[in-house]
Symmetry: C2
Subunit: 192 residues, 2 copies
DNA sequence: TGAATTTGATAACAAATGTTATTGCTGTTG
DNA sequence: CAACAGCAATAACATTTGTTATCAAATTCA
């Protein structure tokens, strides 16, 4: 049942045995807070089943920034990496099955991985890809209308549209839920 | 005169002598295209003097995505890293003095650097920081109004406001130059 | 089951932003 | 110097998006 983690780290059997005990598997209900704004992130979560979101408080308004699903890794990168209070809250949306690993253990595994040139290269590639992903995400806010962003989401990440409540999606797209509702209504009308 | 490059790579004298010949110093006028949309990026530029912008073509409209100034490194990350045609164009705004290095030489230096744990860690930190930077940039589009984004820019990167023509700044902020003009007018009035 | 909560649609109105056109200023270039 | 291009401000109008309120359907939970 830890298979997804094993694949993620591309480890051989010997290494794997060494690390597997670092992970703890837990189950939590929907709307569970995994990391609270202001706390320092000392854990990473891997989602086996369920979904979660990262959001932050903007003048009392709940703004969703990212969604995570099965096989995704979730943490507050900035807080985790720099040991500073997190500006975001991590919260489950559906009931979840998670693997948890502590910062100490994670750092240890990472350091070991970096000694292996292939893994290191792979890890750096992941960082680059994440960079490119965020760049393109920014781009879509400059370039696209809310309607186009919604259509992109529908095309590229349909599981978000299917599984996530609409008002979370709206703030993720940078609009109000009323406006998202309007966009959907308009698209449905055009389709007829 | 190559001092800024030396510092950037944190090299000792011996290494430095080995690499310095990889860089070429050139001067180009304003509005020079350094990389054209569709081309594969095979060079990295370091700005000694002047400024440049990265922009892309959106249905015939010129949308500016980033600005670069003295000591910045400029390239199309995605195209350079993955050897695919660039979706962006890189263009000087002011007359520039640049250092150029080829992809081959750059890769060679990077590989050498990765063998040194400290440099490797430093490099990975840079990647993380860039990630966090882009995340926050996205965030500001979801959270802030155009006026707030303009005020942030004024506070955090005043050189952009001072040196860059306003219509480039407007598209960087995701608005029209007319609207940016309105915002400025309104702020000036409030200040009185 | 039934009450409470969450979610999504819709309408009416207000505010923000885009579009187009005009004007004047500036600096460049022949 | 004159012609020209680039840039910024402004106005009038069109469109998009936000705000607030209301209602209905779906879901949760005691």
């Amino acid at each position: 049942m830890f298979e997804q983690l094993k694949d993620r780290f591309s480890l051989n059997e010997r290494q794997w045995k060494k690390y597997v005990s670092c992970f703890k598997r837990i189950q939590v209900p929907a709307k569970t807070t995994l990391l609270k704004e202001g706390e320092i992130s000392r854990k990473v979560f891997f989602i086996e089943k369920g979904c979660a979101r990262v959001w932050f408080n903007n003048d009392g308004k709940d703004v969703t920034f990212q969604f995570f699903f099965e096989n995704d890794r979730v943490s507050s990168t900035e807080s985790f990496k720099k040991n500073i209070p997190s500006i975001v809250t991590i919260e489950t949306i559906e009931p979840c099955t998670l693997f948890i690993i502590s910062k100490n253990d994670m750092d240890r595994i990472m350091n070991d991985c970096f000694e292996i040139p292939e893994l290191r290269a792979k890890f750096i590639d992941v960082l680059y890809d994440r960079n490119i992903h965020y760049m393109k995400h920014c781009l879509s806010f400059i370039r696209d209308t809310p309607q186009q962003r919604y259509l992109n989401l529908l095309k590229e990440k349909p599981q978000i549209i299917k599984r996530i409540p609409q008002h979370y999606i709206a703030s993720y797209l940078g609009i109000t839920s009323v406006h998202l509702s309007r966009i959907k209504g308009k698209l449905a009308k055009e389709k007829k």
